[in-house]
């Protein structure tokens, strides 16, 4: 069974929900942060296009599965949560149908600005859908052919008719009649205060009787109205005349018969009797002649009025739901073929005009051409194709159907949307203040019960990207801030690596002893297992009271299975607080695979914590690599290397990167 169904807005307000068992709010919050905001499971998602729930990947959280769909225009998310163990074949259909119904019923309210309130009586609709779909699933198992014929043909046949016509099911027809007759009957019994209750007569006798008296239609309503007017004697004739006129207008050919009726009426004794009798007679008369039209109208009327009151009889609700769902279907089909020659040429001129003035609704065709330009631009900036396509698709999904602002060209709109997308992808979920984090670990507050320990940072990356150099830069920065740093040489593989690090450490010592920095090298030569060396080094650092342990690792090709797999053990042994990967700004397309493989190399539950993008000074504006790497992993860029010197390390600024990528002049 379903656990919970919720309908919520992108601004975070739950509009309607139904719970069958309580679930943690963390599940839906997880869906929102992981899928929509951080785009972890579905790159480029966001509140995207109105895709059916079947095409949106389910989101899994603990033992729960979440199915969802969105309405982009209204900013509404529809979410169904159930236990992953269950197999609910109808769940996608439910989510989609609920969306169609909700949007149809409350779309106007949702479009209202400056409010979060949506008054909805959605329970009945939901229950109806849930029951119907569950039943259909069961029926399908038992007698496949029959159930599908009924459940899918019924709405389809409605779609075939005019949209506002009720489904021509025989059951409905008699139902509508009997109801109206019931009301009519009560009014003829001169109890005018009685309101139409919406409940159907249950006894077959009443059904039959009233059915004979006047089998429903427009006039029966009117007759009721007339009968309900308290001044029978004085206005009886008047109302009768009015009725006649109205009826004539509706069916002018039948004029002669009305005269005949009038004659007959003259025989009656009292005015009261006269009016009631006339009502009966006229309604019966007219019904015989204009039955189909009258029937259609009255049915729609009662149907509509009861919608507003929110009182329903289950069967009528069924009809309404089906008609909404099927009209949505026809709309979908119709929209593809709409517009004649005149219509299209007018809209074309309007489109040109709006191109300049703004207020143009963007379509896929408009966007495709312009987005291709943007995509090429990104590729020229060294953004990997995969990432560029994702960004453009995200922008496209965001913009289709959106109206441009005043005096805003589609290109400008795309530019701003792309800027926003880039900002969103590059901005880290939580900002990193390295010094604050180190302080928190090395001098824990007296209240918390954690013991003092050194902060461990390890640096990984492909060969030759500048791991040791960037490690030295970080070291220099830490030394300037008077930390006691232990540099660990865990590259026990490439000859000369340890010596290279030793040179760096000696330089750093010279540079910073005056300022009070302390730095030592920890090394165990070549050939040892790097994970063990790292573990020993961390223990040593803790013992000797170092503040930070910086671990250099061997460079490795990201597709070298053997070396990559040793990283998992390394992470387990060294327990680094931060694992930073160095990537070269020059690298280009390979960046995506590099980042992905390193991100996955540390085993379950451990990932990269950040990137250092080196050699940014050599690429000018072509800083696309950092976008590619963040796109591939959702791991933020922390630092960028901008030169050969120890102080050429910068914290990463999103604004700077976006300006470079989109050539925005300051």
């Amino acid at each position: 069974m379903l656990d919970t169904f919720e309908i919520l807005t992108t601004s975070g307000v739950v509009l309607w929900s139904r719970s069958f068992s309580t679930i943690s709010p963390a599940i839906i919050n997880g869906l929102i942060t992981n899928v929509f905001i951080e785009e972890r499971t579905l790159p480029g998602a966001g509140i995207a296009d109105d895709v059916s729930a079947a095409n949106n990947p389910p989101y899994k959280h603990d033992q729960h599965t979440v199915k969802w769909t969105t309405s982009k225009e209204l900013g509404v998310i529809f979410v169904a949560v159930y236990r992953s163990l269950l197999h609910l074949s109808w769940i996608d259909k439910l989510v989609d149908n609920i969306k169609t119904l909700f949007v149809d019923l409350y779309g106007d309210q949702l479009r209202k600005p400056h409010t979060t309130v949506v008054k909805c009586h959605f329970d009945e609709y939901f229950d109806q859908q849930l029951q119907e779909l569950e039943k259909s699933a069961i029926n399908k198992d038992i007698k496949v052919a029959e159930s599908t014929a009924f459940l899918e043909k019924a709405p389809a046949s409605v779609a075939g008719e005019l949209r506002d016509e009720p489904p021509p099911l025989p059951g409905l027809l008699s139902r509508g009649q009997s109801k109206n007759n019931y009301n009519d009957l009560t009014s003829n019994d001169s109890s005018p205060a009685r309101t139409p209750s919406g409940s159907r007569p249950s006894t077959p006798a009443g059904h039959l009787l009233t059915g004979k008296a006047n089998p429903g239609g427009k006039t029966s309503r009117r007759a009721r109205k007339a009968a309900n007017t308290p001044t029978y004697a004085s206005s009886g004739e008047e109302s009768g005349a009015k009725k006649n006129r109205a009826a004539k207008a509706a069916a002018p050919k039948k004029g002669r018969r009305w005269d005949a009726d009038g004659l007959a009426d003259e025989d009656s004794d009292t005015p009261l009797d006269y009016s009631t009798h006339a009502n009966d007679a006229t309604s019966g008369e007219e019904d015989g002649t204009t039955r189909p039209g009258g029937m259609e109208e009255v049915d729609q009327e009662t149907w509509g009025s009861r919608t507003k009151k929110g009182q329903f009889v289950l069967k009528d609700l069924d009809d309404q739901v089906h008609s909404i769902l099927s009209s949505a279907d026809t709309k979908k089909v119709g929209s593809a073929t709409s517009g004649g020659l005149v219509g299209s040429s007018i809209s074309a001129i309007g489109g040109l005009f709006r191109n300049v003035v703004g207020g143009k609704e963007l379509t896929k065709e408009d966007l495709d051409k312009d987005l291709k330009v943007v995509e090429d631009h990104l590729l020229r900036k060294n953004v990997a194709r995969e990432a560029a396509i994702r960004l453009c698709e995200g922008v496209e999904r965001e913009l289709i159907g959106v109206k441009t602002g005043s005096f805003e060209s589609p290109q400008a709109r795309i530019q701003t949307a792309m800027e926003a997308s880039l900002k969103k992808i590059l901005t880290p979920t939580s900002s990193l203040d390295l010094l604050r984090e180190i302080d928190a670990v090395t001098s824990p507050s007296s209240l918390s019960l954690t013991k003092r320990r050194p902060y461990v940072i390890s640096i990984v990356g492909v060969n030759g990207v500048g791991k040791s150099t960037n490690l030295s830069k970080i070291c220099f920065f830490l030394l300037q801030n008077k930390y006691k740093v232990l540099v660990v040489a865990c590259d026990t593989f490439r000859s000369g690596a340890v010596e290279q690090l030793a040179v760096h450490v000696r330089n750093l010592k010279e540079l910073t002893t005056r300022e009070g920095g302390v730095v030592e090298l920890y090394q165990k030569g070549y050939g040892k297992d790097a994970a063990n060396v790292a573990k020993d080094a961390v223990a040593f650092g803790a013992q000797e009271g170092f503040d930070v342990v910086l671990i250099d690792t061997a460079g490795r090709r990201h597709n070298d299975q053997r070396l990559m797999s040793s990283l998992e053990k390394f992470a387990k042994f060294a327990q680094p607080d931060k694992i930073l990967m160095v990537g070269e700004a020059l690298v280009g397309t390979d960046s995506v695979a590099q980042a992905r493989n390193f991100d996955a190399a540390f085993g379950a539950g451990r990932r990269l914590d950040g990137f250092i993008i080196s050699k940014c000074d050599t690429v000018g504006d072509m800083v696309g690599t950092l976008v590619s790497m963040v796109h591939a992993t959702n791991v933020p860029v922390l630092f960028v290397g901008v030169g050969q010197h120890y102080n050429d390390l910068r914290t990463f600024s999103v604004k700077w990167a976006v300006e470079k990528l989109l050539d925005i002049k300051k």
Binding site: G12, I37, S406, K424, S430, R436, L447, F639, L649
Partner: protein, 286 residues
């Protein structure tokens, strides 16, 4: 020649068609302009209050509480929303203070726009943009989860970091803003979730925020340069020190130097909602 003359005559004669065209144009052009240009600019005249704070602090809950009088259930926000609220009967707007008790305008509640923003790290630019480019902004409410503020807690660090950024942005705007900046800006630090027993009282919230920001601005000042600086053409002087220059400890009162009035008040949205202090603060801003 004759044809030309005919043409001129036809052009200059008051033809009914020409008249009709002129009338149609005269009537439709304003309508056109209206639909295309003015439709977008919504209600700008209402005073607005900005609601920000870390994710999960209860901003959207508070928004619904202010709007409807009862809080709705909420989830993480992805988009900002502006909602029209009106002051409750009890709270009196500052501008109405000197009105007579019997003034009928007292009965129509003062209206304002409350702007809710997402607190997720990736989406804070919505809030920060509202500060840099405000429209009739009367005050800022920084909502925080007082139950998540224990010393050494990650929550405290993140909250203080966000608050630091917001205050710094306000400070920059107030100090270098020439004509656009208002005379004074008020910020309410609203400590939410007082119904939980782990919640810190307002005074403690204030002092732990102050100590945390003290540490934070020191480490920020020692931190690496931003990649935007130096690599670009101009190394704009980074005046990124929050509060009084050279002061050892950060105090929220230091913001008064920049005409930023900071207040701390506690309350809770859920349970037995207790938001009178916040209402009063809002009333004082209108």
């Amino acid at each position: 020649m004759v044809i030309a003359k005919d043409w001129v005559l036809a052009l200059l004669n008051p033809s009914p068609l020409g008249l009709a065209v002129a009338i149609v144009l005269a009537l439709t052009i304003p309508l056109f302009l209206h639909t295309f240009i003015f439709r977008a600019s919504g209600l700008v005249s209402l005073p607005s209050i900005l609601l920000l704070g870390p994710s999960g602090s209860g901003k959207t809950s508070l928004l619904t509480l202010f709007e409807r009088g009862a809080n709705a259930s909420t989830h993480t926000s992805q988009s900002p929303i502006a909602v029209e609220c009106s002051l409750p009967v009890g709270a009196i707007a500052r501008t109405d203070k000197y009105r007579s008790m019997n003034d009928p305008t007292n009965l129509t509640h003062k209206k304002f726009l409350l702007l809710d923003t997402p607190g997720h790290g990736k989406l804070r630019h919505h809030a920060l943009e509202t500060i840099t480019n405000p429209q009739n902004l009367k005050g800022v409410i920084f909502l925080l989860d007082a139950a998540n503020m224990a010393a050494g807690d990650e929550g405290l660090r993140q909250t203080a970091g966000y608050l630091h950024d917001v205050l710094l942005l306000l400070q920059k705007r107030m100090s270098n803003g020439t004509s656009k900046a208002p005379k004074e800006m008020a910020i309410l630090i609203a400590a939410n979730k007082m119904d939980l027993f782990t919640a810190l009282p307002a005074a403690l919230v204030k002092s732990s925020l102050e100590t945390e920001i003290t540490k934070l601005r020191v480490s920020r000042s020692k931190g690496l340069l931003d990649s935007g600086v130096n690599m670009g053409d101009d190394g704009e002087d980074n005046d990124d020190w929050l509060g009084e220059m050279g002061s050892k400890d950060f105090k929220l009162s230091q913001m008064e130097e920049f005409n930023i009035m900071v207040e701390v008040a506690c309350g809770n949205v859920t349970g037995n909602a207790n938001v009178e202090k916040w209402w009063k603060w809002v009333g004082d801003r209108l």
